[in-house]
């Protein structure tokens, strides 16, 4: 008797679970799923606002938008985006790992750890655009940082934003500053979840700090690392605001290397997407690029995930 009552109430609770899920699904369907389908649909159309006819052109063109992506230097845009991401992510993960292991280590007894955690997280609360503007001003020819560089012998006429390496480095640096605090907190949560007795056991066995980190912390931290990598990768592919502000929307300087030369060095995929939409509201070409982005994001995530999951087994 008691058993059936229990079963009953459990079912009742299940029902509430579904009901609580409804708001999410409604929002998802209206604001994510429908636009997604519409984006894919538009990618097969010439769909843009004609400057001369004052109306939308809407014409089925099959795969034309996709074919044009290949001649428009899109591969190069992805290359730019990935370079910018890697340049920011590598220092970010290294610094975050270091900081996280320090913060989580009780033996170090870091004073005012809470304060420092808050401070390194703070940049993430500032808008990327504000951050980009601030750095642009600081590193521009009349900015304070430029003056410090001048003191160390840089020419007054040298403009960092006229050159590829400084421009890319600065964008990567801004992203690094903005995100390393967030990553540190995530990794710290992971490290603090590790059973303290493991560390103690290792110590009793005479393991060095580095050995403990390499043999205990890192392997157990792997799921969190995979999560950080995937989320940062997806975020990185969607990089837009910082390079947009730093290069004033142009993505310049132009690149001179073995790749096609007609794509600026700091133009990212999403910056191109914004250009498609800003003047002519070209939802056709923008749609095709978005679909391509969706595929590549999906594939990359899958590859990284499989790669890490295989190790785990």
């Amino acid at each position: 008797m008691n058993e059936t009552v229990k079963k009953h109430s459990k079912l009742g609770r299940d029902k509430w679970g579904y009901i609580f899920l409804i708001p999410f699904f409604v929002v998802f369907l209206v604001f994510s799923f429908y636009p997604l389908i519409q984006t894919i649909y538009f990618s097969f159309f010439d769909h843009y606002f004609s400057q001369t006819d004052f109306d939308y052109v809407n014409e089925y063109v099959g795969l034309k938008n996709y074919k044009e992506l290949f001649s428009a230097g899109t591969a190069r845009l992805f290359f730019n985006t990935m370079i910018l991401w890697v340049m920011g992510f590598v220092p970010q993960i290294l610094v975050s790992l270091l900081l996280a292991s320090w913060f989580a280590n009780n033996r170090l007894r870091i004073r005012a750890a809470g304060f420092f955690k808050a401070v390194i997280y703070l940049p993430n609360l500032i808008m990327a655009i504000a951050f980009g503007m601030m750095f642009f001003t600081m590193f521009s020819r009349s900015g304070p940082v430029h003056q410090i560089f001048e003191y160390f012998g840089m020419s007054k006429d040298y403009d960092l934003f006229f050159h590829i390496a400084p421009t890319r480095s600065l964008i990567a640096f801004i992203n690094f500053i903005m995100w390393f605090g967030n990553t540190t907190i995530l990794l710290m949560a992971g490290i603090m979840g590790i059973n303290e007795s493991l560390f103690e056991a290792a110590e009793v066995d005479g393991a060095s700090q580095f050995q403990v980190f390499r043999k205990i912390t890192l392997p157990i931290l792997k799921p969190i690392l995979v999560y950080v990598l995937i989320t940062s990768l997806i975020g990185g592919i969607q990089m837009y605001d910082v390079p947009e502000v730093v290069t004033k929307g142009s993505g310049m300087p132009m690149n001179k290397d073995i790749f096609s030369t007609n794509v600026p060095a700091a133009e990212t995929v999403i910056m191109r997407l914004a250009q498609y939409i800003s003047k002519s509201k070209n939802y056709g070409a923008a749609g095709a690029l978005s679909v391509m982005l969706l595929f590549i994001t999906g594939i990359l995530s899958f590859v990284v995930y499989k790669f890490m999951a295989k190790d785990e087994e």
Binding site: T52, V57, R141, M254, T261
Partner: protein, 454 residues
């Protein structure tokens, strides 16, 4: 719970009653000939301030800054900032839905800028002033010709009017002129910059003495682009680069290689802005009256303007920069009021003279400006007491804008951005041109770029 239900029902009832009144109101509007709401679309407070100050019978709404009244018509200001095409997007949406919009929601007046004027002038979204009942050759006879060229469609219909002219000149530093050219007299300096060959020769002299003729790459761009002999996009939708634009490329490349400029861009925070101060190294800028008043940091201590060391002269060619045009939207239900606003604000000499006095606008009235130009009591303190109206009025008569297209804004912006890479040596000329083609294809899917070549 019960209380909440009561409140809700009260709200619903109120909504119904209010809705009823609203319906009554619009019924009135349909009954009469003219609408009750005048919707004005613009991107800042400029026109609003002028209408509030000078349109007879305009009363501000004390509670709502975006509303006002003219007689029994409510004026509604729909202000959307210009940044990132936000204003144009908003306006496009409204004009596209104009036909189906309720009478009180229809766009009646909208404001445009020269850079994209044709986008709204050519299609049937703006009304010909003739259809509004304005006699163009008589009522608007005092206006500067170029201000009408910009808003004339390909069939010759005038579709907008402006209260201001923005003729520009060459603004130079008197102290540098004296040091390098031996004189700061306007006529003699004009002689040294009267055409582009003289301009270049003067630039060489400036460089010898450690000064730069201009601060950036694109300072002179507008002077060239205002005097083109063909539009950016031809009738077959091919993008064509005009000979005068190539002239700008040649000149700027030469200026960059010879250090005649300081390798900055327009609105740059570096040398371009430093040139506004006495410590700067820049001899001249190209700009209209508003540029001096609002952009050259003239009120700041240490600035050239504060010391009164700027002067203005006509320069190598006439050109203009800026300006706002008022257009009547097709389908407006307030055509009589719209007509009167356009006439009062852009063609009534008394109003325009007051505008010039109150807002120091260079107003769109030839006789009025000529009178001001001859007035020896008028002097701009940033220009050391020079009366700039004379120079500008002379420049205004020289401007001729015949060739424009709806694509100008994107073409100009992208061309400058790509050519900068060529000037800097980051790209060859061909590479910069390829980049430009790509940018244009991205911005405007309906134009062809294959014919772009030197």
């Amino acid at each position: 719970m019960k209380k909440a239900a009561k409140v809700l029902s009260l709200v619903l009832v109120l909504a119904m009653v209010v809705g009823c009144f609203a319906a009554c109101g619009s019924k009135d509007a349909e009954g009469g000939k003219q609408g009750k709401v005048l919707n004005i679309y613009c991107w800042n407070e400029e026109f609003k301030q002028r209408l509030e100050a000078l349109y007879p019978g305009y009363t501000k709404d004390e509670k709502d800054a975006n509303k006002g009244k003219i007689g029994d018509v409510t004026v509604v200001w729909n202000i959307t900032a210009n940044e990132g095409m936000a204003y144009q997007n908003k306006l496009d949406e409204a004009l596209k839905n104009q036909k189906d919009a309720k009478a009180d929601d229809k766009v009646d007046l909208f404001l445009i800028e020269a850079d994209y004027a044709l986008k709204y002038v050519e299609p049937n979204v703006s009304m010909s002033l003739k259809d509004l009942g304005i006699n163009v050759s008589k009522d608007l006879a005092n206006q500067y010709k170029y201000t009408q060229d910009i808003v004339t469609d390909s069939k010759g219909n005038l579709k907008g009017a402006s209260w201001q002219g923005c003729p520009a000149g060459l603004i130079y530093r008197t102290d540098i002129a004296e040091e390098v050219l031996g004189t700061s007299d306007v006529d003699k300096v004009q002689e040294a910059v009267k055409d582009w060959a003289s301009f270049e020769a003067t630039a060489a002299k400036m460089q010898e003495k450690g000064y730069a003729m201009v601060a950036g790459f694109d300072d002179s761009y507008r002077v060239f682009s205002n005097n083109v002999t063909s539009a950016w996009v031809d009738a077959d939708k091919n993008v064509v680069v005009d000979k005068r634009i190539w002239d700008w490329v040649d000149q700027t490349k030469k200026f960059t290689d010879n250090n005649y400029n300081l390798k900055d861009s327009l609105w740059g925070e570096g040398p371009w802005k430093e040139g506004f101060f006495l410590t700067g190294k820049t001899f001249c800028y190209f700009g209209p009256a508003w540029f001096i008043d609002f952009c050259m940091n003239c009120t700041e201590p240490g600035s050239v303007g504060e010391a009164g060391k700027w002067h203005i002269t006509v320069g190598p060619e006439g050109f203009f920069w800026g300006g706002t045009w008022v257009c009547a939207a097709t389908g407006t239900d307030n055509s009589e009021l719209v007509k009167d606003i356009i006439l009062k604000m852009t063609a009534d000499t008394d109003t325009l003279v007051k505008l010039a006095e109150k807002f120091s606008d260079f107003v769109n009235d030839k006789p009025a400006m000529e009178k001001l130009a001859a007035d020896s009591k008028i002097g701009n303190k940033y220009l050391g007491g020079q009366n700039l109206y004379g120079v500008l009025a002379e420049g205004a008569n020289k401007i001729s804008i015949k060739y424009a297209s709806a694509y100008d804004q994107g073409c100009n912006e992208n061309f400058q951005a790509c050519m900068k890479e060529y000037f800097l040596g980051n790209a060859t000329f061909e590479e910069a041109l390829e980049a430009f083609k790509q940018k244009i294809k991205t911005a405007y899917p309906d134009v062809k770029v294959d014919k772009i070549a030197r």
